[in-house]
């Protein structure tokens, strides 16, 4: 899909045609009525958006619902996207808001081992890990996830964006609408609280 040619009318009245569009160009094309342009945006960002949601709610079903909601909201608000931040940052911002709103209204279901998700889980196929080790690792991960779920919302969002999405503090600040100093302080407190919760 991404290899096709994209055309849309420019502000000057001429026609813009590109073959390998940037995010900003896809946004322009989508706003000009090209439906496939928004499909391409989804295809490009779905993994990060889904992973963000999964980290917040910890189960596949809710994560896919939330990720879908993120893209629908993005479609709805596309006209308001001015390009001051990257499209990815903007989607992360929507994603964090959607997830935090959901956390405010509903307790996430405990994570279950889902066959769909295990299809590509290399650890399952690994011969190096004994069943006991796998069990211990699973239990350790479950404890950490449960502890992260107890963190205050902003600390939790900061931790997820920093640790699991490896975003720079500056980008996290843009997503959360905070200063870089506040993001770093939040991250530090998240680590401290997590340590206490795990003891």
């Amino acid at each position: 899909m991404l290899a096709r040619t994209w055309s849309w009318p420019a502000a000057s009245g001429s026609k813009v045609t590109v073959t390998n569009p940037t995010d900003a160009e896809l946004v322009d094309a989508a706003l000009a009525g090209d439906r496939e342009a928004f499909d391409a945006i989804v295809e490009r960002h779905r993994r990060h958006v889904y992973q963000l949601c999964y980290r917040f709610v910890g189960n596949h079903e809710d994560a896919s619902d939330l990720a879908q909601d993120v893209f629908v909201r993005a479609y709805r608000g596309l006209k308001k996207f001015r390009g001051q931040s990257s499209l990815g940052t903007w989607l992360y911002r929507i994603g964090v808001n959607v997830c935090l709103n959901r956390l405010g209204t509903r307790t996430p279901k405990p994570e279950a081992i889902e066959p769909l998700l295990l299809a590509n889980d290399e650890r399952v196929a690994s011969q190096a890990e004994s069943p006991t080790d796998a069990l211990l690792r699973g239990e350790r991960e479950r404890r950490v996830r449960a502890a992260i779920a107890q963190l205050p919302k902003k600390q939790r969002a900061t931790l997820i964006l920093r640790v699991y999405h490896e975003l720079p503090h500056e980008q996290i600040a843009g997503i959360l609408g905070s200063s870089v100093g506040a993001v770093k302080a939040n991250f530090f407190h998240a680590m401290n609280n997590l340590k206490k919760l795990l003891q």
Binding site: V42, R46, N120, I148
Partner: protein, 204 residues
């Protein structure tokens, strides 16, 4: 020298702390201990992996988003049809047909007014004069409208609202309301009859 601040601990772990402050962290047991705690907790958090969904999931997900966005687009376009919003829920072709009925009737009203007052702007003609037309002209108009109606209903049978819009069959916001307000009582009755008939046939 003062202990590291929370932000400085993060910089220390990231390896971006200024050399003078990093030197303090090296020499201060309390800061060293705190930094070690941050590092070990970070490692624990990093150790929590996320299962990767099946490749089939991504196509399924894209389809779901596409469907939800199409629904969003439809509901947005249905705004101009809000006076008959029930029609747009699951009976979109009927809604298109109903819109075309209105367009047809408006066309009929305008044609009659033009015939009655040549040279005058149709929109300025008083509504009460709309029914003052010779029976012969009425019969001819009805025959012509019936033919146009057959063509339009056939075209609208499988058409979605967004497709009708793209085909140029659009109605400006508020135009339907204004047109309906200008209808004579017998035209309103006919509109009601046609809409009821369409709804009955569609089972909506």
């Amino acid at each position: 020298m003062t202990h590291l601040s929370p932000a400085e601990f993060v910089d220390l772990v990231d390896g971006t702390l200024a050399a003078s402050r990093a030197a303090h962290a090296e020499s201060c047991a309390e800061c060293r201990r705190e930094a070690a705690l941050v590092r070990s907790t970070l490692r624990e958090a990093q150790g929590v992996e996320m299962p990767e969904p099946s490749p089939l999931f991504w196509d399924h997900f894209s389809d779901r988003v596409r469907g939800a966005v199409a629904e969003e687009r439809r509901s947005r376009h249905a705004g101009w049809f809000s006076w008959s919003s029930n029609l747009t829920r699951g009976t979109v072709p009927v809604a298109v047909a109903a819109g075309l009925v209105v367009a047809l009737l408006v066309n009929g009203v305008m044609t009659r007014r033009t015939a009655e007052a040549p040279g005058a702007a149709a929109s300025h003609a008083p509504a009460s004069t709309a029914h003052v037309v010779a029976p012969k002209d009425d019969a001819a108009l009805d025959a012509a409208n019936s033919e146009v109606w057959d063509v339009l209903t056939a075209a609208a049978a499988d058409m979605q609202i967004e497709d009708a819009r793209e085909a140029g069959m659009t109605v400006r916001p508020g135009a339907i309301d204004r047109a309906v307000q200008k209808m004579a009582p017998d035209e309103l009755n006919e509109l009601g009859r046609l809409l009821q008939s369409e709804l009955k046939h569609s089972g909506a």
